[in-house]
């Protein structure tokens, strides 16, 4: 039992336990809080493995972005206080079967992987090489240009922007047909 193994076990228990909390919560916001602990646990696993950029990205996207939007949406749209979905037994059955199948698939796949190689003491590549690879810039000058991901990335981001603009257009307040202004009318 080395320290990384102990830490991994601790974080994994917290992550899995909060994931169960997500499933068994009645209230959406409580589920979001359990999901928060679960996602923080996953990002701590990334930090433990030395993938610092991935861990920080997990925090900024899921914790700072997605979960805030979930709670924000519940706050704006909730009909009553602390509302949550009511699940029927058939839904429990279908969900349980799907989850069991997925779990079996993941377990069989990870058993096939074999034991992981022991961690080496070499420093992991930082964000610099990551960004250069992303842009397709060769690490040594004179090498052949690698595969660049900038164009697909830009296409995806412009696509997302178009979706956002379209959503804002669909959800806009419908303007009434312009009427001649009546005296004393307030806009």
């Amino acid at each position: 039992m080395t320290l990384p193994v102990v830490l991994f076990a601790l974080i994994a228990v917290v992550t899995a336990g909060s994931a169960l909390g997500v499933v068994f919560s009645r209230s959406v916001v409580r589920a979001a809080v359990w999901l928060l602990f679960s996602l923080i646990g996953v990002s701590l696993l990334y930090f433990l493995l030395g993938a610092e950029f991935l861990g920080a990205a997990q925090l900024i996207i899921y914790v700072g972005g997605t979960l805030v939007l979930v709670v924000f949406g519940v706050m704006l749209t909730s009909q009553g206080p602390f509302a949550g979905p009511r699940t029927r037994p058939a839904e429990w059955l279908a969900g349980g079967l799907l989850a069991g199948a997925l779990f079996a698939l993941i377990v069989s796949a990870s058993l096939d992987l074999g034991r992981p190689a022991p961690p080496t003491d070499q420093p992991l590549p930082g964000v610099g090489p990551l960004g250069l690879t992303f842009l397709g810039v060769p690490e040594q000058p004179g090498e052949a240009r690698g595969l660049a991901f900038l164009l697909p990335f830009e296409i995806v981001s412009v696509h997302l922007l178009v979706v956002l603009v379209a959503a804002a257009y669909l959800a806009r307040a419908k303007k009434k047909v312009a009427q001649p202004p009546t005296p004393g009318a307030t806009r």
């Binding site: 102990v6 916001v29 610092e52 990205a57 709670v71 924000f72 706050m75 602390f82 930082g126």
Partner: protein, 401 residues
């Protein structure tokens, strides 16, 4: 520290002990800084409102924060009947943990850092933006309409201001070429014109935009819509009392210092004085040099917090639509222009021009600050009304009784 502890302890114990010491130091620093900030806030607000502030509690009222703390500890810890108890209880700790986690990657001096993350600047943005989650949760779980309004406003405001704030962080990162905060600090060693803020006009403007957006994301006035005591009773913390209430304020003061420290590291030379052309920790020895470094860094952070307090007590609160408009219509385009501008500047401007611009900016700023300080001392008391009369609009017109 891990290496020196490993000589007397097994490696795992050394790592755990080093982590515990670092966490204890950070908590102690946050507590001590909050103690001073509470006193300072009362004094600053008093002086700006032409009062003395606390004077009875100890010399200069310095024990006022202690008195406040005793009052808060002895208060009853209540939760409203309509509240979701679990979320209501956990929300203050979430807010505080987020503010605390930001300090892990904040270097206070040369190699004085909790854990030297290679993506420190990115990590700071990530954890500081998750402080909003605790505040929103407090607003939602209180089961009160005022709290809910405060939470909704906070969410809308912080999620919007996160975008220009992050873009302004990218501007000095483009200059530095690294996300590691300790490396960015090391690069700005030496004279003050080496600081990133004087690198070009774009980084100079980016400092101010970053500072304003960071003030907004700490929900400080004039952006304190989430608590707006004239409209929402006390906003998201209406239903809180005692220790849980004080955790929110501990988190607020901690994140104020964290963003000021981030601004100091990214723009204003980090832990360097700007007047010593070498790294103090290498010249004076690790401990003595870093004593100076930590003092300089904490001084820069405290100066940033002091300016935030000055703004809070000088400016009226904005309306929510004005807050959103300021962010989306002004700060967001400005920060995009700054980002493109700093890239273009580094690619196309010849070195002679950029060096001369750097010196003009640096010496112009120093001359301006020096002039303001000198004129403030020279004019001391000259603007005051005669004894027994009032100032400003209440002043008696000349010749009338």
């Amino acid at each position: 520290m891990v290496e020196s502890l490993s000589e007397v302890l097994p490696h795992w114990a050394a790592v755990v002990l080093a982590g515990a010491i670092a966490a204890g130091l950070i908590v102690a620093f946050i507590g001590g800084a909050a103690y001073i900030f509470i006193w300072l806030e009362r004094k600053v607000s008093g002086r700006i409102q032409d009062r003395l502030g606390p004077t009875r509690t100890g010399p200069l009222g310095l024990l006022q924060s202690l008195a406040d703390g005793i009052k808060l500890v002895t208060k009853e810890d209540t939760a409203p009947n309509a509240a979701d108890r679990f979320l209501f209880r956990v929300a203050p700790y979430l807010a505080f943990c987020a503010a605390f986690a930001g300090f892990i990657a904040l270097p206070f001096g040369y190699q004085v850092i909790g854990y030297d993350l290679s993506v420190g600047a990115f990590f700071m943005l990530a954890v500081l933006s998750s402080e909003v989650f605790g505040v929103m949760l407090a607003g939602y779980a209180s089961g009160s309409k005022w709290s809910l309004f405060g939470g909704v406003r906070e969410a809308a405001q912080v999620v919007s201001y996160e975008v220009p704030r992050s873009l302004c962080v990218v501007v000095p990162v483009c200059v530095a070429g690294t996300l590691s905060l300790s490396q960015i600090g090391n690069q700005q060693v030496g004279w003050f014109w080496n600081w990133n803020v004087f690198h070009d006009p774009f980084t100079f403007v980016a400092l101010f935009i970053f500072y304003i957006t960071a003030t907004a994301s700490c929900k400080r006035a004039p952006f304190d819509l989430a608590e707006a005591e004239s409209e929402l009773v006390a906003g998201f913390h209406t239903e809180y009392s005692g220790m849980r209430w004080s955790f929110f304020f501990l988190a607020e003061y901690a994140s104020m210092f964290a963003v000021s420290g981030l601004a100091a590291l990214l723009f204003c030379g980090g832990w360097h004085t700007g007047f010593l052309p070498f790294e103090p920790a290498e010249r004076f020895g690790f401990w003595l040099g870093n004593l100076l470094n930590v003092a300089v860094f904490a001084g820069k952070g405290f100066l940033g917090v002091l300016v935030m307090m000055w703004m809070r007590w000088s400016l009226p609160r904005l309306r929510i639509d004005q807050v959103m408009m300021t962010c989306l219509k002004y700060f967001l385009p400005i920060s995009c222009v700054l980002l493109v501008g700093v890239c273009v500047w580094q690619l196309f401007v010849p070195p002679a021009v950029s060096a001369s611009v750097r010196f003009v900016l640096a010496f112009g700023t120093v001359a301006f600050v020096f002039g303001v300080v000198v004129s403030a001392f020279a004019l001391r008391g000259a603007g005051m009304p005669p004894a027994g009369e009032l100032a400003g609009v209440w002043a008696k017109p000349a010749g009338k009784v």
